[in-house]
């Protein structure tokens, strides 16, 4: 077949460099968390919060689309023999598990409300800092997406912070559930600040590691208000951190999300509605 050396929007050829990989990492992180949060649709603890979490899901889906569209534009600039026309849809629906670069924490099951809240809080603090830095980037389109997104993430950050406090400083049961959520999630937060090769080398003026201290400070502040123990208080909690998401090495949960999310496009290729 003459198309053998081309790819269907599935694999990125090496000459692409890191910029598209970085955009895909940001897109995938937002898409996979949007998909997880959308699982609450119709299942939220009360109607208003069902609407809140699905609004947040929609914002993140929109942010993912902006990153995918920009990544697709960059990929399509490559010579035709290297890559076929890709679109935001082919990038979201036709890549395989090992090609997804989302943070591992986003693919973990939604768990109970405490787990969903705590994950959203960790990610929102992170994205708020990340977009704050990226909106100053010399890449105009990347800066524009960050400038647009940070306004939305501010709502997510406020909402999730308030819920962490409400649950942590709530009843004995809500407090216990937050502690369990913390045990489940903490080991997935180290990955945020360990740059992948594409973050280190290909994004000018980007310093991922510098976000770590402000992130810890903010989490610490909210935890204190929530009467939750901050991890630095007990050293054994900060030893091991899971990594791999940015490089496409995922947890056992990833395949299940993709099979659900990609089912329609895989079964009826090119379907539109």
């Amino acid at each position: 077949m003459k198309d053998n050396n081309k790819v269907k929007g599935s694999t990125l050829p090496p000459p692409l460099g890191g910029r598209a990989a970085f955009l895909l990492h940001l897109a995938d992180t937002n898409l996979v968390l949007a998909q997880r949060n959308a699982e609450w649709c119709g299942h939220g603890p009360i109607l208003e919060q069902d609407i809140a979490i699905t609004n947040i899901s929609l914002d993140q889906l929109g942010q993912a689309r902006n990153f995918y569209q920009y990544a697709a534009a960059l990929i399509n600039e490559l010579p035709e023999q290297l890559v076929k026309n890709v679109t935001e849809d082919s990038l979201a629906y036709l890549r395989t598990e090992r090609e997804f670069k989302n943070l591992l924490i986003t693919e973990l099951p939604k768990g109970d409300w405490a787990q969903t809240i705590l994950r959203q809080f960790f990610i929102s603090v992170y994205l708020h800092l990340l977009y704050g830095q990226l909106q100053e980037n010399t890449d105009g389109q990347l800066a524009a997406i960050a400038e647009k997104s940070i306004k939305e993430v501010t709502y997510h950050l406020r909402w999730s912070s308030e819920w962490v406090i409400r649950l942590g400083d709530g009843t004995a049961e809500s407090n216990q559930r937050m502690l369990t959520a913390f045990e489940n999630l903490w080991a997935y937060t180290g990955e945020f600040f360990i740059p992948a090769t594409y973050e280190n080398e290909d994004i000018v003026g980007f310093d991922l590691a510098s976000l770590k201290q402000p992130w810890l400070k903010k989490v610490n502040k909210i935890f204190k208000e929530a009467t939750l123990d901050f991890p630095s208080d007990s050293k054994e909690k900060v030893t091991f951190m899971h990594t791999g998401g940015k490089q496409g090495v995922h947890t056992e949960h990833m395949g299940f999300i993709l099979s659900e999310m990609q089912y329609l496009q895989r079964t009826y290729p090119g379907a539109e509605w």
């Binding site: 609407i51 609004n55 914002d59 929109g62 105009g140 800066a143 939305e152 709502y155 406020r158 208000e225």
Partner: protein, 170 residues
Amino acid sequence: MIDNTNLNKNAVAEIWRLLEEVCDPEVPVLSILDLGIVREVNAIEDEVEIIITPTYSGCPAMDAIHTDIRLKLIEHGYKNVKIKTVLSPAWTTDWMSEAGKQKLKAFGIAPPNPIQIVCDTKLFAASEAIPCPLCNSYHTKVISQFGSTACKALYQCQDCKEPFDYFKCH
């Protein structure tokens, strides 16, 4: 040589008038001009370029708005239409027209506060004083910052007890 300058000036003015008739599919009392999402209209020879900016990243109305703009212009003979989405500067409710705000209120949705108070990271902040669109009482409270669409918050009037949507400052 034909001078196109005046011709295009007239075309641009007519296109702005036509865009006044394209409505937000989710808040049909507002035109896209009231919303402030049309940033520029350019006519170069027979090509029309419209620059719009989304309200929220995930707003599903944007795709419908693209189609509606195209249809409206084709209907009036503009076949070569390019719609470009620009993200920066990011849309703000500050760009909403005064007429738009009045129309929202008449429709039963509280318009964005004239004093722009956008979401910040302060927690459990006192909710903005938003008058009830039905009884005008300021004795209202926020139920949730997230509502039926990305652009609205949920409020309730403490006097007439009516729950209402607030087109939140952004």
